[in-house]
Amino acid sequence: MESVETEDRIVTLLKEKFAEDFISFETPYHFLTIHLKAENIVAIIRFLYDNEKFQYLTTLCGIHYPELKSIAVMYQLHNLVENKRVRLKIFLPEGKPEVKTLTTVFPAANWMERETYDFFGVTFKGHPNLKRILNVEDMIMFPMRKEFPLEDQTREDKNNAMFGR
């Protein structure tokens, strides 16, 4: 899907331009994934949008990592001209997950960010209408976080090793 040269180019570009924000990169299943710091994520995506033709936001979602005490936000961009994809991941502290909104670059991020807020409680600063989207509005928790198990965890008749999480 993705040739090695372009991967290298994007990685070197980001390393040069945003040296302080760059953490690491990997390519699981041939998919370039770059881990970044959260502060300048919108500027980085704007840079990729303007210079590398990543002008299509495929998806955006949250991931909860309780053992890292953080909530990650994953952005997946697509360069439709050269058919390249890149995944950007940022890690936000679990206690106060806050990041700038991407709606300034992609209007499509509007509902995706609302969904991420709805399920993970990530606050997107500057979002025009950050409220719950799929759940009821008076819900008080963020249900996709791992501290909300699907089943009553006090049950003793089921062994988790056998029946999964």
Partner: protein
């Protein structure tokens, strides 16, 4: 008394003496074909502002998936875009196969292509006939729907279910196509093209239909890309992005087909793109049938006993099959750790599965990229300044499916 000039679309001013009407379109409304609510701020018959509310049939599939073994997630995907559930099923199987690095035999890939194209046609039949229905042409709807019914009968022969199919398994198909399924498929392939031709004679160059739909709910390329449209709606706006061509899966690279595009992204273009896609799908099915004939007849799954349930007779008579049966059901096979993204061209666009596996028997995180959810947010902007009746057919031509919207 209002000036006539003032109610020209896009020129609505907010004078103090002007009174707006608020209209609740939905949640259940016969013309929205699903559970969507739109609070419309109306100036006469012109829509000034629309506020959509979604989530009425939210079922928390992403959360449910975190407690289910991989093979139990397929029924969840059925219920997303329920007009073309086989595509969702296949997309999910392929995601897991990508995670497990399973090589799928060619014949299975072609069988999957046939099923996916059939369900694309059934999806487009619904959308296009509903457009006709909403502009007042009921004939096409009643006439073409029997062919959708017959597609469902083919699915029934293959997997036993019609709407929520749960078709195929990780690693292949659950069983080979029966002779009856092949018969029904060939019969359908004979009967459908003339019916489609009649349907297109009815509407495609129909002056009343064209006057009604051209320039109705137009969508520019820039807006389509900014709102991450995909599928027929994006192609109607003029972008030839098709996952089947860009990132081929299931051997689509071997097939010869066109990607129909529109020019101005209005209701008529969306209708025409879907019409032409049905014809292309028929072409693909014929090619796939030719290819299937060249492959050995008895292959319907990959040789991955760790992930495919063995046939029941073997479970009762064969120790290894019994072991694998238990391993499968209890989920004791090791799964690699990793992050996978796989997307297929669903009925409505790029249907993506973002799967994070931590090696457990269930996904650590599963995110569905649902095309409807992403492009429906552009709807208020698309209908701003248009008439209420245009808003209705704009929505039906976008083919927003409530199940996919809310997941």
């Amino acid at each position: 008394m209002q000036d006539v000039k003032e109610i020209v679309p896009g020129q609505v001013t907010s004078k103090e003496e002007k009174q707006y009407t608020y209209l609740n379109l939905g949640p259940t409304h016969p013309a929205t074909h699903g559970i969507f609510q739109n609070v419309l701020k109306m100036d006469g018959e012109i829509i000034v502002e629309a506020t959509p509310t979604i989530g009425y049939i939210h079922r928390a599939f992403e959360k449910l998936a975190e407690r289910r073994p991989f093979y139990q997630i397929t029924p969840l995907t059925d219920r997303m875009n329920y007009c073309s559930s086989p595509i969702n099923n296949m997309g999910w199987h392929m995601t897991v196969e990508k995670l497990l690095n399973i090589e799928i035999p060619k014949r299975v890939q072609y069988l999957r292509v046939i099923i996916m194209q059939l369900s694309r046609i059934s999806d487009h039949i619904i959308c296009n006939t509903i457009i006709g229905q909403d502009v007042g042409a009921t004939t096409g709807f009643l006439y073409l729907f029997q062919f959708r019914e017959r597609i469902y009968e083919i699915f029934e022969e293959i997997c036993g279910a019609r709407l929520t199919t749960n078709i195929g398994r990780i690693g292949g198909m659950e069983r080979n196509f029966s002779d009856k399924a092949w018969d029904k498929l060939y019969k359908w392939l004979e009967d459908f093209p003339p019916a489609l031709q009649e349907f297109s004679n009815l509407l495609e160059r129909n002056r009343i239909f064209m006057d009604r739909t051209i320039n109705c709910g137009p969508l520019s390329v820039d807006m389509a890309l900014a709102y991450s449209f995909s599928g027929p709606n994006l192609r109607a706006a003029g972008v030839d992005y098709d996952v089947r061509v860009m990132n081929p899966y299931s051997s689509y690279e071997e097939f010869d087909f066109m990607v129909p595009v529109g020019t101005q992204g209005d209701t008529y273009d969306r209708f025409m793109v879907r019409q032409n896609e049905m014809r292309e799908s028929l072409k693909i099915i014929h090619q796939a049938l030719e290819k299937v004939k060249k492959e050995p007849k008895d292959i319907y799954k990959a040789n991955v006993p760790e992930f495919v349930l063995p046939p029941k007779e073997e479970v009762y008579n064969n120790m290894e099959a019994l072991i694998y049966h238990f391993k499968n059901v209890m989920g004791e096979t090791d799964v690699p750790k990793g992050e996978v993204y796989h997307s297929v061209e669903g009925g409505n666009g790029e249907l993506g599965f973002y799967l994070i596996s931590d090696g457990g028997r269930t996904p650590y995180r599963l995110h569905f990229r649902r095309p409807c959810f992403i492009f429906y947010q552009a709807y208020p902007e698309m209908i701003k300044g248009t008439m209420l009746s245009d808003a209705i057919i704009t929505m039906s031509s976008m083919n927003v499916i409530a199940g996919e919207l809310d997941a």
